[in-house]
């Protein structure tokens, strides 16, 4: 098992370096002089030269890339052009909000998606199947910002049950988490349904029934575990999706998370900030994938043997 985990970690390293390289190249071909961006249009030319010097902007590209990688490995993403603060500090401040939002959203998507998928599979091709799947899939087709605004209108403005925007307590996270979680509940439901249906066609299900188990014991005890193993893997993709969705959700609900600072960095053309947030997010997505693989290996006894 340990070997398997180590192997998976090693595989992720080149991926991260690749992403860093692509980012570096992309951000270096974006037009605009960083110093002008930082100091405003009317800065004096001699000051520009001074700042360029201080920021090593005139060093050869390879050296800059090497420095950037080494610094990034130590968690140093440079200083924000805009705020003049360490990018890593800004990320460290924003990240917990995003984690909280994503975590609640994953819970919501499972709480909606898994039971819907089970109900739909057990009552395959009936009204119940369609109703549950319709409800879960609705979240996929509603744009997050639109659903967010609608939710704010109904639950905050009309009914006054929940606060509109902010991040001060759990109550503030309810609407954003449901909106964001619902948006990926459909994927979870669809996957649960199709995996469960497939799982129920296995020969060992017939064995379980022949043993005398009740239908619910067969579904929950024998079919579900097999069916949910792939769902867990999709959790990784889901984290990537949710991080994407979190950008929108954070903007609508005024949560100062990673999404918000990335959007702001784009608006400000704040390159170190953007590099830092994107690279950090990539690392998180890769870590999510890794975690999913490990959970998968843990759930499925056949995996560890193959990884031997």
């Amino acid at each position: 098992m340990l070997k398997f985990i180590l192997k998976r970690i090693l595989i992720s390293v080149p991926v991260l370096i690749g992403v860093a390289l692509v980012l570096f190249v992309l951000l270096n071909v974006v037009p605009g002089d960083p110093v002008t961006l930082m100091m405003g249009e009317h800065i004096k030319p001699n000051l520009i030269a001074m700042f360029r010097e201080r920021m090593h902007l005139d060093d050869p590209v390879l050296i800059r890339f090497g420095r950037y990688i080494l610094n990034a490995l130590r968690g140093d993403f440079g200083v924000s052009y805009k705020d003049q603060r360490e990018v890593s500090d800004l990320i460290a401040m924003a990240f917990p909000h995003t984690v909280k939002l994503t975590f609640y959203a994953v819970l919501v998507s499972w709480m909606i998606g898994i039971p819907s998928g089970i109900a739909a599979a057990v009552k395959q091709n009936t009204f119940i199947d369609r109703a549950f799947m319709g409800f879960s899939l609705m979240g996929v087709s509603l744009p997050v910002f639109w659903a967010g605004l609608l939710a704010q209108y109904v639950f905050a403005y009309k009914l006054a049950w929940l606060p509109t925007t902010g991040y001060y307590s759990f109550r503030y996270y309810i609407m954003p988490s449901v909106v964001l979680g619902w948006s990926s509940a459909g994927t979870v439901a669809r996957l649960t349904r199709s995996n469960l249906l497939e799982s129920l066609r296995n020969d060992f299900i017939r064995t379980a029934r022949a043993k005398g188990l009740s239908e619910s014991a067969v579904v929950v005890g024998h079919a579900l575990k097999n069916a949910l193993i792939p769902v867990v893997t999709v959790m990784a993709l889901q984290v990537a999706n949710l991080l994407g969705g979190a950008v929108m959700t954070e903007s609508v609900f005024g949560i100062p998370g990673l999404g918000r600072i990335a959007v702001k960095a784009i608006a400000d053309r704040d390159m170190p900030m953007l590099q830092g947030t994107v690279l950090f997010t990539t690392a998180i997505v890769i870590a999510g994938n890794l975690a999913a693989d490990i959970v998968y290996a843990f759930l499925d006894p056949r995996i560890s043997v193959e990884a031997g």
Partner: protein, 324 residues
């Protein structure tokens, strides 16, 4: 004693109704091994699944009666039927590779059957499982308890299936081609084991196979099935000495001889007819080398030719058993 009487199980497909089991009567007396033979697709598995009432949609038991010690099973409630499955009637399947759940240990899967049907606690069920593993000849039963199916060979998995099926000492064990997927040596061991268990536990066995050689070795009585119908039935000695139905003699001609190369399992010309498009008259007539004109017009009845021997063929008319 298990009595299947005039059982009809049909599949209601979009292309029509397939009478997979059509008016089948089979009796499994106590302490005996009864064989059901026939080519694949002739309704053996559906008959077996009907007994446990596990035929899945679009299949449905249409009519007939299935009695265990005189108790009708077809009218039992869901929970009452579940109490019988795995406890009084159990079943093992052809595919030892896929019949066990890959994500649970084999020990857990067997003890599940024990805790379900007895009020044994976990620890006790565990002990009984290990005991059962030992009884079916699994080496190092304590260690094997914690094995996952993929860690065991096909033969061992089938032993686990047998342990699971026998765990509650059922009155009837239905073995649906239990050795088809195994190599010859393992097959012999598994058959030997089943015979031993039959003697030790007094369990009757319904042995489903397409291999008449296996029937000769194991069974007391045989039913020959074709296209959902019983074509011939007899005491095992009677059948091998005096097979009457052209289909049975065809099957007998196809038995692989020990030492000789394995021939094609069936050397009867042609294919099993589609159940959706059955031939008029005798269901075997398109493939029968001895068919007479009447065979293409009406279907013969299953009639007794001598004690315990019945055949569904126009060539045999009365109790004398003589051909026309």
């Amino acid at each position: 004693m298990l009595e299947i009487e005039r059982l009809c199980t049909h599949f209601f497909t979009s292309r029509g109704v397939a009478p997979a089991v059509d008016n089948v009567t089979i009796t499994i007396p106590p302490k005996s091994i009864v064989g059901v033979v026939g080519e694949s697709g002739c309704g053996k598995s559906v008959t077996a699944l009907s007994v446990l009432r596990l035929v899945s949609s679009p299949g449905r038991i249409v009519s007939g009666s299935i009695r265990l010690d005189g108790e009708e099973l077809l009218t039992k409630s869901g929970p009452a039927m579940r109490a019988i499955r795995g406890d009084r009637i159990s079943m093992i399947f052809q595919e030892p590779m896929t019949s066990l759940n890959p994500v649970y240990t084999v020990g857990r899967q067997v003890s599940e059957a024990i805790t379900l049907h007895t009020n044994a606690a976990r620890g006790e069920a565990r002990g009984r499982t290990v005991e059962m593993f030992r009884a079916v000849g699994i080496p190092e039963p304590e260690r094997r308890f914690k094995s996952y199916p993929h860690q065991l060979s096909g033969g061992l998995r089938q032993r686990v299936m047998i342990a699971m099926a026998m765990a509650c000492r059922p009155e009837v064990l239905i073995a649906d081609e239990p050795t088809t997927a195994l190599d010859v040596t393992t097959e012999a061991q598994i058959l030997h084991l089943m015979k031993e268990l039959e003697t030790a536990f007094g369990t009757s066995i319904m042995l489903i196979t397409h291999n008449l050689g296996l029937v000769a070795e194991m069974c007391d009585y045989v039913y020959v099935m074709y296209a959902g119908r019983i074509m011939e039935q007899a005491d095992v000695f009677e059948l091998f000495d005096n097979a009457l139905h052209p289909y049975t003699t065809g099957l007998l001609g196809a038995i692989p001889r020990p030492g000789g190369e394995r021939r094609r399992l069936f050397n009867i010309e042609g294919m099993v007819p589609s159940l959706l498009d059955l031939p008029k008259g005798c269901r075997f007539s398109p493939r029968c080398g001895r068919a007479i004109s009447r065979c293409h017009e009406e279907e013969p009845e299953l009639r007794g030719v001598c004690r315990g021997h019945a055949v569904r063929c126009f060539l045999y008319k009365n109790e004398s058993g003589a051909a026309r």
